[in-house]
């Protein structure tokens, strides 16, 4: 039964044109940033003295070079690696924190529920950008801190989703049956409650990756995220805070910006597709 459900959901997902477009875009970008630097032997860190600084796009450097003569195409690809890494890793961190907390709050209720869910409310009502900035400033900006901070602060929405599901699942008969035959709490939680509480989180995961990519790029754009020489889409666009770069060299900041938008749209489409596929109300 469960197997059929899953394959039906899968069929619905495959039939969804937007979701498949999103998947194609994300797959294409991921493969490009992973493979192209190896295939074309690109170097994002060294200055090309022959080409010079601030060059417009040419055959040798198809996105031009930056203010210290580094190849912007290579930087855009390496930046993509960074952005996708941060987005995906941060989401995994959020899941690892959010799922157990949501499970505990929903299953055990009582004091654990009030503390966890009130804390989640407090986190959610606070502008996350301000909190992230303070934390990044305290721990020093780097790929690691940005990833961990975005990941840790992202636990709330996942915990809330799990919590809501667990609240209704714990009252079901099969849980009562498991308790009646003397199954211990641990096994009930992991083999009965969790598998049934997780599906709605799948769609949220994809939205979270999109959100994390957006947050990382904003931080790096402000100079509070990934630091040069490491590349990230946001810190390449950082150069455009200078009005000269903004007006005279659009090839510096347009490509990474378009990449961010494509990745965000891609993950959002995938998320919508998963949500619709798992929703029994839609065909």
């Amino acid at each position: 039964m469960k197997h059929i459900m899953q394959s039906q959901a899968m069929k619905k997902f495959i039939r969804n044109k937007r979701a498949m477009t999103g998947l194609a875009v994300v797959a294409l970008l991921t493969l490009s940033v992973l493979l192209l630097p190896l295939v074309l032997d690109l170097d994002p860190y060294t200055t090309d003295r022959e080409a010079g600084f601030n060059q417009p796009p040419s055959a040798a450097h198809i996105f031009g070079t930056d203010d210290v003569g580094r190849d912007l195409f290579a930087r855009a690809l390496y930046g993509g690696r960074t952005s996708l890494f941060v987005g995906i890793t941060a989401t995994i961190i959020s899941v690892l924190i959010g799922i157990p907390l949501g499970l505990i709050a929903g299953y055990f209720r009582g004091i654990a529920e009030s503390i966890i869910m009130r804390t989640a409310d407090a986190f959610m009502s606070f502008p996350s950008m301000v909190l992230i900035l303070v934390l990044v400033a305290v721990f020093g900006p780097s790929i690691l801190t940005v990833t961990v901070v975005i990941g840790v602060l992202g636990w709330t929405s996942i915990a809330k989703l799990i919590y809501g599901n667990v609240l209704s699942i714990r009252e079901r008969e099969y849980i009562e049956a498991a308790r009646a035959v003397g199954q211990r709490t641990g096994p009930i939680l992991f083999s009965e409650v969790l598998p049934n509480a997780i599906p709605p989180v799948w769609a949220n995961l994809s939205f979270r990756v999109a959100g994390a990519v957006l947050t990382e790029s904003s931080l790096s754009f402000l100079g509070m995220g990934v630091q040069t020489p490491q590349a990230s889409w946001g810190n390449i666009i950082f150069a455009a805070q200078n009005l000269l770069v903004l007006t005279a060299r659009p090839w510096v900041w347009l490509p990474p910006g378009i990449c961010i938008i494509l990745v965000v749209i891609g993950f959002n489409f995938i998320g919508e597709g998963v949500r619709d596929a798992l929703d029994p109300k839609t065909r």
């Binding site: 009502s125 402000l222 455009a240 938008i261």
Partner: protein
């Protein structure tokens, strides 16, 4: 009613103390405080540093300093900025008006356009209005605000010269209202585009849900016109989730426009936050955090009162 407000206020106190203490502890335990920066410059002798430490109160234990800060707060004293030696309260007060103006205009515009557009989309699904609505929310959800700002500055301010690129007033000119609106247009647009998408989606889905209810059929069968049914019967009942969505953007009135303020050099709370973080100006960071925290808690209280007013089933307990 009075008792309910008091209870909610009492409930807000531990949250306020918790958040402010967490931020206070965090920024004070961080390596590289203002003294470390001064010490590494090598311009001050050790005894001078000790004297400075005592005069800034940094020699006392963390918990004592937190309560001193809290005590100062109740006397309206938020301390002095390490960077500018101005009073923190003054510095923040100067920045509130520009910030409110910017995000307020953005969010108000989003409400005034987003909610009617959401109703129209729900009323006529798959119409031109519906497509416009989903297009706008699509842009809001997928364009990072800094990139949208850059595109607008590049296209409208630099190439067309239709808008100024940054600031609140033209330098040298008088501070006229027209000039202000001219500077406000682009950043306020960016501030509004993200919330407007949420408002459209939320209004559309909750109005659609209500339109399927039995009492809407009743209202229709009484012979009421469609407009009356949608506006008077459906919208009011669809309003609660919309109010929630709108209220979630209230905290951003104060601290949410960090990126936009930075790009457009708008002299608000967000850009103050960035400069303070960069220079590790703890009293200012604390002041801004306290302000945002207070606004969030107040907004939540007001929201609960609005719910109770909209939905008679909710009782003041």
């Amino acid at each position: 009613m009075f008792k309910y407000v008091c209870k909610r206020l009492l409930y807000a106190i531990p949250v306020f103390l918790g958040i402010t203490f967490a931020v206070y502890a965090l920024i004070n335990l961080a390596p590289g405080g203002p003294l470390a920066i001064l010490a590494s410059s090598g311009e001050m002798s050790l005894s001078d540093l000790e004297a400075l430490k005592v005069s800034l109160g940094l020699d006392k234990p963390l918990i004592v300093r937190y309560f001193l800060w809290l005590g100062g707060l109740f006397q309206g004293d938020l301390g002095t900025s390490y960077r500018t030696s101005q009073e923190v309260g003054m510095m923040i007060a100067q920045r509130i008006r520009p910030s409110l103006l910017l995000t307020g205009t953005g969010i108000l515009g989003a409400i005034l356009i987003g909610i009617p557009l959401g109703i129209l989309s729900a009323y006529k699904p798959n119409s031109a209005w519906d497509h416009l609505g989903s297009f706008v929310s699509f842009i809001g959800a997928s364009f990072p605000s800094f990139f949208l700002s850059l595109l607008l500055i590049y296209a409208l301010a630099v190439k067309l010269g239709a808008f100024p690129t940054s600031g609140m007033y033209a330098s040298g000119g008088g501070e006229s209202l027209g000039d202000l609106l001219h500077h406000l247009a682009l950043p306020a647009f960016v501030c509004g585009i993200q919330p407007i998408g949420n408002y459209i989606k939320q209004t559309r889905s909750s109005v659609m849900e209500v339109l399927n209810e039995e009492y809407i059929k009743t209202a229709r069968s009484k012979g009421l016109t469609n407009t009356v049914v949608v506006i008077k019967h459906a919208f009011r009942n669809a309003l609660i989730p919309v109010v929630t969505t709108v209220s979630l953007s209230i905290p951003f009135l104060v601290g949410g426009a960090v990126v936009v303020e930075q790009i457009f050099a708008w002299p608000g709370i967000g850009s103050l936050m960035i400069t303070s973080i960069q220079s590790r100006d703890y009293p200012v960071i604390m002041g801004v955090t306290m302000l945002i925290c207070g606004v969030v808690l107040a907004a939540n209280l007001v929201l609960d009162l609005i719910y109770a007013a909209l939905d008679p089933r909710i009782q003041f307990r």
